[in-house]
């Protein structure tokens, strides 16, 4: 039986064994070709591993899309103090559910990726920061880690290399902001989970003030493939600026929502209409959020020729983010949608920065009033200005993320707001 849904157009470098419980055990994973990349990495040496990841053009899958090899090369060449690798498994961006699947179906793939990365950046200790709600996932991961330790893959002498690679799971308490890399570090240190001012950057002073690299689960899961097959092989997929494959988390009004691994640059409409089986009977596309709730909404027209690469989505007027595609058909009440998203950010703002703390909650209140039919046209101007004040003025970009849906929806769906304001008329199913 295929993992909820699969599609022939997928290129399943990472997700091939999704839905296959046999892949979870160490034995099963080895039988499927696992743990060949780590010994190869030891053979290649750190520098070549980093060079290969650079050559692959792999970009961070946590949302920002920063080139992974370049990030690793920021770490000090000489280890005079402990180095740390933090695997970011706090996955909480609305619409995103890929890291959970990677961890839950292929925990050893992630562990191997972490081990290679830890070796490359000379981190003897790595942490996997798991979202608090990932109960089953954490269980599966913990079991896999235990196996890896028992088999000598991890520990003081990882796979007989003489190199220490330790991995520890840390379970968060369910805060979105702990997915922001410096908030994650604070949380891991036992402090309040709130982002730090940068600089200093993590590679200079991160976890416990030591050189640190933070990578997303999917980023690290891609590393074994690249190590084993080389950067060139990875570049066989995707575009020049966005090489490789990416897990697309599709949710919303499509017939077959789910995770699909596709080469970057895949057309958005083809994803919706072909891969995901299209919209429901008789429905028209209204809007798509292509990269998780933090990125601007695309109107249906903007989707027509949008290609799902970092540069393609940017050209269409949004961002690829973590490739969480939220599809909305004409039954969608945009005002309500946006209000709920802003409510999420208002709830999750750590509250340090005044614009984010006050602005997100204020916008939510205004939006709720509009939603209830008690808005005014001036409210839209206020919303645009408040959102503007929240962009680029804070410690982390959660504030910008809260502003994005507000600004983009007012620009693209102003009529819908106005209809609600003037007549109280609700568009869509509510």
């Amino acid at each position: 039986m295929a993992y909820p849904y699969t599609h022939p157009k997928e290129v399943r470098l990472l997700s091939r064994y999704f839905g296959d419980p046999g892949a979870r055990s160490l034995e099963g994973w080895k039988a499927r070709g696992g743990y060949q990349a780590l010994p190869k990495a030891f053979e290649m040496g750190r520098d070549r591993v980093i060079e290969e990841v650079k050559a692959s053009g792999l970009r961070g899958r946590g949302g920002a899309g920063f080139p992974t090899g370049v990030k690793w090369s920021f770490m000090p060449k000489e280890r005079t103090r402990p180095h740390y690798l933090l695997c970011n498994a706090d996955e909480s961006e609305p619409g995103t559910f890929k890291d959970r699947e990677l961890l839950r179906w292929t925990p050893h793939q992630v562990i191997e990726g972490i081990a290679i990365a830890a070796y490359a950046i000379q981190a003897e200790q790595s942490y996997i920061y798991c979202r608090g709600e990932f109960f089953e996932t954490t269980q599966v991961l913990a079991r896999a880690l235990e196996e890896a330790y028992e088999a000598g893959i991890l520990g003081e002498n990882a796979m007989g290399s003489g190199i220490r690679i330790d991995i520890t799971i840390h379970v968060g308490a369910g805060a979105y902001i702990c997915g922001e890399e410096t908030g994650l570090m604070n949380s891991l240190e036992g402090r309040r989970g709130q982002p730090r001012v940068k600089p200093p950057f993590p590679a200079q002073a991160g976890y416990r003030g030591m050189p640190t690299t933070v990578n997303n689960v999917e980023t690290l899961a891609s590393v074994p493939y690249i190590t084993l097959h080389g950067g060139e092989a990875y570049r066989a997929y995707g575009t020049d600026q966005s090489p490789g494959t990416k897990l697309f988390c599709v949710s919303g009004h499509v017939r077959k929502p789910g995770n699909y691994e596709l080469p970057l640059g895949f057309p958005l409409m083809e994803l919706i209409e072909d891969v995901c089986g299209g919209l429901r009977e008789g429905r028209r596309l209204k809007a798509v959020i292509p990269g998780g709730s933090s990125v601007p909404i695309l109107s249906a027209e903007e989707c027509w020729d949008c290609l799902l690469s970092y540069e393609g989505v940017a050209k269409a007027g949004s961002q690829l983010g973590c490739a969480s595609v939220i599809v909305m058909d004409d039954t969608t009440d945009i005002v309500k949608q946006v209000r709920r998203m802003v409510g999420f950010y208002a709830h999750e703002s750590c509250g340090q920065c005044t614009p984010c703390r006050e602005g997100s909650a204020w916008m939510e209140k205004i939006l709720r009033r509009i939603e209830e039919g008690r808005g005014t046209e001036e409210d839209l101007d206020t919303l645009m200005e408040v959102a503007g004040q929240m962009e680029g003025t804070t410690i982390c970009v959660l504030s910008d993320s809260a502003a994005a849906p507000v600004k983009s929806s007012i620009m693209k769906f102003r009529d819908e707001y106005l209809a609600r304001i003037r007549t109280g008329e609700r568009v869509g199913a509510a």
Partner: protein, 533 residues
């Protein structure tokens, strides 16, 4: 020869002005040095900079985003605008955000008049806020100790949390919840109770979120007079400001002095002021049970003293609250009268209470401000740690007995009963002054000008904050007049003359001018001579 830039300094331009500052200085500090004040809440010079209020953002040419000036180090050639349209719009925007949930209950808020939210909004806020939404309400919370918390007024700068964590190093406050539900709270039921420095958080709270129970509703900020002074409650000598209204001390506030107390003071000192407001004061000179004028009192005392010279040594008792001027003139008088011993008694606490994050500040063991001054004048410490006892040889002395400032609370009616002349220079009536032929009213430090020497050997000045009751004079003035009547120089009319006269005859103070002491104090010339605690 080309001009080499100094590697230790950086030259930049702020609002068109060229500024040269040490490397590593922040933009905010550099601006301050040329008199440009950048609004801020979370930044405080005595605390870490979280750069979270986002009010101090300034424009740096060539940078894509505004920079937090409290945390951004200056760079060579940098061009900074604190007053550009972008920087101003940022402040106006942030200020509007603060008002979304702020109750604006200024009329009943203790901070009103000295509130940074009022000040900033008045200067750069929007004329009308746009929020029409219901505000979130936290209400009031008793944080324990002297501190009340009005959550709705909080601007979430976390200064209070950081003070407790970084300076008091007694982590009793934290932010709970997040987003706009964030609120300051205490960990345990006891809250701040018993924390010896917690009162400082009320000072550094930029708004009326943290207020003092002691001061609550006592006075409006604009009705208070501020007088620079020095805390009289221990030998640390924290620099303070005495806030008065209606000739009453309403509260004490620390005054910045990085060499002594930073921005801080202890709660013991802060709240030990009610005695300055005591009304049961000696207010007229009394000679032989009769109220008289000062000239009569001085003349008649001079006569008695002259007659008594030569009838054995003088024995004197002096309070360690007395100023250097009082003590110096007392010593001079004793010498003129044939010499003798001066004793002092000081209450001593069992331990010092150090402020861990600013360890040069400690509530010292000696609970009096001028023990060092007394030592400089060769006075002898007697009595126990409660400043009791040790005066037997004075109580029954048959020669001249002089008591200055010591209230003699532990002494009986017979004190000084056998003295040839017994003079009581005091502030309050005392049972033990009953046998004194001369009961002369003197001022407290809060009513006079003068100097003390703190535990570090630092001479510090205080100024009169209150009107003296009735005819009370500073002790140095009475003593100076006595000396004049005995033919020892002119009576000093002003405090600085008194100080200079005392300085001339006190080697450790030689060459120090009253004016040099200023509001910050100067070290005595031979601090090594001042014994350690």
């Amino acid at each position: 020869m080309s001009q080499q830039p100094n590697p230790q300094t950086v030259t930049l331009t702020i609002d068109g002005r060229s500024v040269t500052v040490p490397k590593g200085t922040t933009i905010l500090r550099a601006a301050e040095m040329v008199g440009i004040k950048i609004p801020h809440y979370c930044y405080h010079p005595g605390l870490s900079s979280p750069a979270m209020c986002r009010l101090c953002l300034v424009e740096v040419e060539g940078w894509p985003k505004l920079a937090p000036s409290c945390k951004t180090a200056v760079a060579e050639g940098q061009v900074v605008h604190t007053d550009s349209e972008k920087a101003r719009a940022q402040r106006t925007g942030v200020l509007e955000f603060y008002l979304v949930n702020h109750p604006l209950d200024c009329p009943i808020c203790d901070q009103s008049g000295e509130c940074k939210l009022q000040d900033y909004v008045f200067a750069e806020g929007r004329v009308h806020g746009r929020s029409r939404e219901p505000k979130r309400v936290f209400g009031r919370d008793d944080f324990g100790g002297d501190v009340l918390f009005y959550g709705d007024r909080c601007v979430m700068c976390t200064r209070c949390v950081r003070f407790m964590r970084e300076v008091a190093q007694d982590d009793r406050l934290c932010v709970v919840e997040r987003g706009s539900r964030s609120v300051i709270d205490t960990f345990f039921e006891k809250g701040l109770e018993g924390s010896p420095f917690a009162g400082n958080i009320v000072d550094i709270c930029p708004v009326g979120a943290l207020v003092s129970k002691d001061f609550l509703y006592k006075a409006r900020a604009w009705d208070l007079d501020h007088t620079p002074s020095v805390c009289p409650s221990c030998s640390q000598g924290c620099n303070i400001s005495i806030h008065t209204r209606d000739n009453l001390v309403q509260r004490l506030k620390p005054r910045e002095n990085l060499e002594v107390n930073g921005w801080w003071m202890c709660d013991y000192g802060r709240f030990n002021y009610e005695w300055m407001n005591r009304r049961d004061r000696l207010s007229v000179p009394v000679v032989g049970g009769k109220a008289v004028g000062w000239s009569e009192a001085v003349n008649s005392l001079a006569e008695d003293l002259r007659a008594a010279i030569g009838q054995g040594a003088v024995r004197a008792v002096c309070s360690p609250l007395a100023s250097n001027e009082d003590m110096g003139f007392l010593r001079a008088l004793v010498d003129v009268l044939g010499g003798g011993e001066i004793y002092y008694r000081s209450r001593r606490a069992p331990d010092e209470i150090v402020l861990p994050g600013y360890p040069i500040l400690a509530r010292r063991r000696d609970l009096a401000p001028n023990v060092r001054g007394a030592e400089l004048q060769g006075m002898i410490r007697v009595g126990d740690d409660e400043a009791r006892g040790g005066l037997d040889q004075v109580a029954s002395h048959e020669g001249i007995v002089l008591v200055l400032g010591d209230p003699l609370l532990d002494q009986g009616e017979d004190f000084g009963g056998r003295a040839a002349v017994y003079v009581y220079f005091g502030t309050y009536p005392s049972v033990a002054a009953g046998r004194a032929r001369f009961v002369l009213p003197i001022t407290t430090f809060a009513e006079s000008e003068g100097t003390w020497i703190n535990v570090q050997g630092r001479v510090q000045r205080f100024w009169p904050a209150l009107r003296a009751p009735g005819e009370a004079w500073p002790a140095w003035r009475v003593l100076g007049s006595m000396l004049a009547a005995l033919g020892e120089g002119p009576a000093p009319a002003e405090a600085h003359v008194a100080f200079e006269r005392v300085a001339q005859r006190t080697p450790a103070l030689e060459g120090i001018s009253y004016r040099d002491i200023g509001t910050r104090g100067v070290m005595v010339r031979e601090p090594a001579l001042v014994s350690g605690d």
